[in-house]
């Protein structure tokens, strides 16, 4: 079995190869391309499972110490950047899940992108190339033994997410007749949003990596996590904190971006503008898992130098996780779009994972990551199947009667669905399994993993007394669990129960096998996945991966005993939520005001508008940036007829913007106006310095250098 370890580099390389082959050679042959992609990921899966098996059989030696293959890469003067591969229990656990879920999604994509159908996507082959690259990025991240390769893979995923979320914004206007302009625009905006938002985190992460490298001279996990190195990092003071804490927080910044934690979560719901398999890929197996993985992998940095309960970096993780978990769940209550609900549920569940890690428990966080990957992929693919069915129904309807063709039908809108459990049984049952798993009903996977996190929080809260941080975390988690159940109840009631509320729903029909079979397979995992770490089966994962950070001497992982009270409370909350959600919405009719809206009133509007976070960002970051850019443009543009007119216009626009958003945020209009005037005047004055003559500029530079040199001389 040891033999499999030698194949580890192939795990990310095979999908990468598939990407290269498709892009370079076979992009004109659709079926071949998708088969290459699927073949690549399938082989990766086989190798990965071989590795997992080898790790299991290898016993503690492999699971804790790990297997390593360093590859020297870049000689830079005297040092060498090395990239390499490593496998330990933690990696193996990830390797069990990631390629397999990816493979399921790949197979499903073949059906979803309508292979061989008349409405097959025109960039079908390109799509498979991108998702292959995406998978390669995630797999590279998982098997990396150092932060460098991890960061490269990380950025690769960032690029792929951009390409895939914006997949439908690339349209060939010469060959395609029906271009949905609104969709193109939305996709483009979503792609940009995802890229830029995660970029904020990436920059932080990069800063963290650079800091770490400058202090330790190494990016290899094993070397960084040596007790001496960690101690050395604690001793260096940076911004009044131990350097290790600063680095950990910077790394967490990266994770916040990638894993869509509050406040950088805004990109994730929009990311569903991409094709549904992409959403599944992003939400389950790859992108968002990367952030959690990063935090888990660098957990010793978060703890080093402190007690687990009092490590500031770790507390940040826990707090952000708890906020995200609660916050995401509440928004999910008020969404109509089937995928949007799932997107917010992902955010919320990611919050749970961060919570688990923030409590210092590697296993709790990762266990939830693994189970969540299965059931969230299932749910997303299921929702894709539903949408696919709805679109099919819509086509049929539109085909029969022309006057329906032009209505603003939205196949994602849950309000137009209803009663689909009879039309699409093969989608319905797996979907139910996923729902139960997400909600956390015994014995589905989500129950065990969520319970583990909550038990961890509860345990700590009992140790450190009530009203301490773990208490609030636990409370947020439990409340979040209830709300999760509530919105999932609402969703399945709206989608699968009741009467069809649109003709499309009544004509919807089941999706092809390539879509439903992956659903069923994933459903099996959603059902049994939790036993991997179920307490009554001996908490297998704990032994398998719990001790990977043991060598750092700061992370100690002992399984928290199963607490019937915690499990009971959360199960009760889940059942209650699910049933009440289901009961309330079971008989919802088209056109009715939603029950929640009736009861919650303005709160519901707030939730529906996602706490206005997007608007806030728009106001605080984007608008000033755009406005500033406009101003700069005007300064620079001599063809502006009359700067004064422009000024008045700007003032007017800014003023009207202010009044429009006055309810949410008050902005001092005098400030804005004054700034505008100041900028404009300054610009008018400064523009004369732009002579267009390079030598003038250089002269200024030289004079400045001279002055600086003079200063240096004066104070030498």
């Amino acid at each position: 079995m040891e033999f499999f370890f030698n194949l580890v580099p192939l795990i990310p390389l095979l999908p990468l190869l598939a990407f290269a082959v498709i892009v370079l050679f076979t992009h004109r042959k659709n079926r071949l391309s998708s088969n290459i992609a699927i073949g690549g990921i399938a082989l990766s899966t086989l190798i990965s499972w071989g590795v997992v098996l080898a790790t299991i059989l290898g016993g503690e030696h492999v699971q804790v110490e790990g297997w390593q293959l360093p590859v020297p890469w870049l000689p830079t003067g005297t040092t060498v950047f090395s990239v390499g591969f490593a496998v330990d229990g933690f990696t193996a656990a990830m390797l069990f899940m990631v390629p397999f879920v990816c493979a399921m999604i790949f197979i499903y994509s073949q059906g979803y992108m309508n292979l061989g159908q008349p409405n097959q996507d025109p960039r079908y082959a390109r799509f498979f190339a991108y998702i292959s690259l995406f998978a390669a990025g995630m797999l590279g991240l998982v098997v990396a033994d150092n932060l460098l390769l991890l960061f490269i893979s990380w950025e690769l995923m960032g690029l792929c997410s951009y390409l895939l979320i914006g997949f439908w914004s690339f349209r060939n206007r010469d060959t395609e007749q029906h271009i949905d302009e609104a969709q193109v625009k939305r996709a483009r905006a979503a792609a940009l949003k995802a890229f830029i938002t995660t970029r904020i985190g990436d920059v932080l992460l990069f800063a963290g990596i650079a800091l770490l490298y400058s202090y330790t001279g190494s990016l290899n996990f094993r070397e960084i996590f040596r007790p001496e190195t960690l101690e050395h990092l604690q001793e260096i003071s940076l911004l009044g904190q131990p350097a290790v804490t600063v680095i950990a927080l910077l790394a967490f910044g990266g994770a916040v971006g990638k894993s869509a934690q509050f406040p950088l979560h805004v990109w994730l719901p929009d990311a569903m503008e991409g094709p549904t398999p992409v959403s599944a890929l992003i939400h389950a197996a790859t992108m968002v898992a990367a952030g959690v993985y990063l935090v888990a992998r660098t957990l010793p940095l978060f703890i080093a130098g402190f007690e687990v309960a009092h490590a500031p970096a770790l507390q940040w993780v826990a707090v952000i996780g708890a906020i995200t978990a609660f916050f995401g769940a509440t928004i999910g209550l008020a969404q109509d779009d089937i995928k949007r609900v799932l997107a917010y549920s992902t955010i919320s569940q990611l919050g749970y994972m961060m919570m688990g890690l923030g409590l210092g428990s590697l296993v709790a966080g990762i266990f939830h990551l693994l189970t969540h990957a299965f059931f969230k992929a299932l749910l997303f693919l299921g929702s894709g199947s539903v949408i696919h069915g709805m679109e099919h129904g819509h086509h049929k309807v539109a085909h029969h009667s022309d006057h329906h063709a032009q209505d603003d039908f939205n196949a994602n809108d849950m309000k137009v669905m209803g009663g689909l459990r009879h039309k699409m049984p093969r989608t319905f049952w797996p979907y139910m399994a996923g729902t139960l798993a997400l909600v956390g009903i015994v014995p589905f996977a989500g129950f065990w993993s969520k319970d583990e996190i909550l038990a961890e929080a509860f345990h700590l809260f009992q140790e450190s007394g009530s009203l301490s941080l773990p208490f609030w975390v636990w409370l947020a988690g439990t409340l979040g669990a209830f709300i999760t159940a509530l919105y999932m109840g609402r969703q399945i009631a709206l989608v699968f129960w009741g009467e069809p509320r649109h003709e499309a729903a009544s004509h919807a029909h089941e999706s092809p096998n390539s879509m439903t079979v992956p659903l069923m397979i994933l459903a099996v995992f959603a059902l049994i996945g939790g036993f991997a770490n179920a307490p009554f089966l001996g908490s297998f994962l704990h032994h398998f991966m719990g001790e990977v950070h043991e060598a750092s001497e700061v992370v100690h992982s002992a399984a928290v005993p199963f607490s019937l009270a915690v499990a009971g409370i959360s199960t009760l909350a889940a059942l209650l939520g699910l049933l009440s959600g289901w009961a309330i919405y079971r008989n919802y009719r088209a056109g009715q005001v939603e029950p929640f809206q009736r009861w919650l009133g303005p709160v519901f509007i707030l939730l529906r508008n996602k706490y206005y976070v997007d608007e806030l960002y728009h106001l605080v970051f984007i608008q000033p940036a755009v406005w500033l850019a406009d101003q700069v443009f005007n300064f620079d543009n001599r063809w502006v007829v009359d700067p004064l007119v422009n000024l008045v216009g700007t003032i007017g626009r800014v003023a009207s913007e202010i009044t429009r958003v006055f309810d949410t945020v008050a902005v001092d209009s005098w400030m804005v106006e004054g700034t505008a005037k100041a900028f404009n005047g300054l610009g008018d004055a400064l523009r004369h310095t732009q002579t267009g003559r390079v030598q003038n500029y250089l002269l200024v530079v030289s004079v400045t250098v001279l002055l600086l040199l003079g200063l240096y001389m004066a104070f030498l």
Binding site: L74, P75, G77, L699, S702, L709, Y712, M713
Partner: protein
């Protein structure tokens, strides 16, 4: 002062006259073609410097690249854009006197600073006896460039390629 010291000093002075005189010629000569020839003179002076500094390989490279390629290229460009620069018209722009002042001041300040610093010069002994690095200069350079400095080396090669392509595209006649 031993004989070879005097010789070296004299040679240094000669090369300095070449370098700085050539440089001055470049910047004040009223005819651009003469500027370019002065540039060659200045480069030749720098070649001499390198020989004095025991950097034979660099001297050859300086000769090859600067005189054999860059100066020739500049002459070529001058010939191509001939006729526009009316001969004998002033070659300096309006800000030349400020520029002269600034350059002079910068020189004064730089010279003052450089003079004050006590450079950590290697011991006389190390300087006098040609080290291994000097006698094996060529092969050692090769080894360093393909060893520790291989990345900058490769980057430089890519830079050259890009410059080559860029220059061809830029200077190409646009086909109309």
């Amino acid at each position: 002062m031993p004989v070879d010291q005097i010789v070296k000093t004299v040679v240094f002075v000669i090369f300095t006259v070449m370098t700085l005189g050539g440089g001055l010629g470049v910047v004040v000569s009223p005819r651009i073609f003469h500027s370019a020839l002065f540039l060659v003179l200045s480069f030749a002076g720098v070649v001499g410097y390198y020989v004095l500094l025991d950097a034979g390989f660099l001297a050859a490279v300086q000769l090859l690249i600067y005189i054999g390629a860059i100066a020739i290229l500049i002459l070529f460009a001058i010939m191509l854009s001939r006729g526009l620069m009316a001969e004998r018209q002033s070659q300096s722009n309006q800000q030349w006197w400020i520029a002269a002042l600034v350059a002079l001041l910068i020189f004064v300040v730089l010279a003052a600073v450089l003079w004050r610093v006590d450079w950590p010069v290697a011991s006389q002994q190390a300087l006098a006896s040609p080290s291994n690095a000097i006698s094996q200069e060529g092969s050692q350079l090769g080894r360093d460039l393909l060893g520790p400095y291989v990345i900058p080396f490769e980057v430089a090669s890519v830079l050259l390629l890009v410059a080559l392509i860029g220059a061809v595209i830029l200077a190409r006649e646009t086909e109309s």
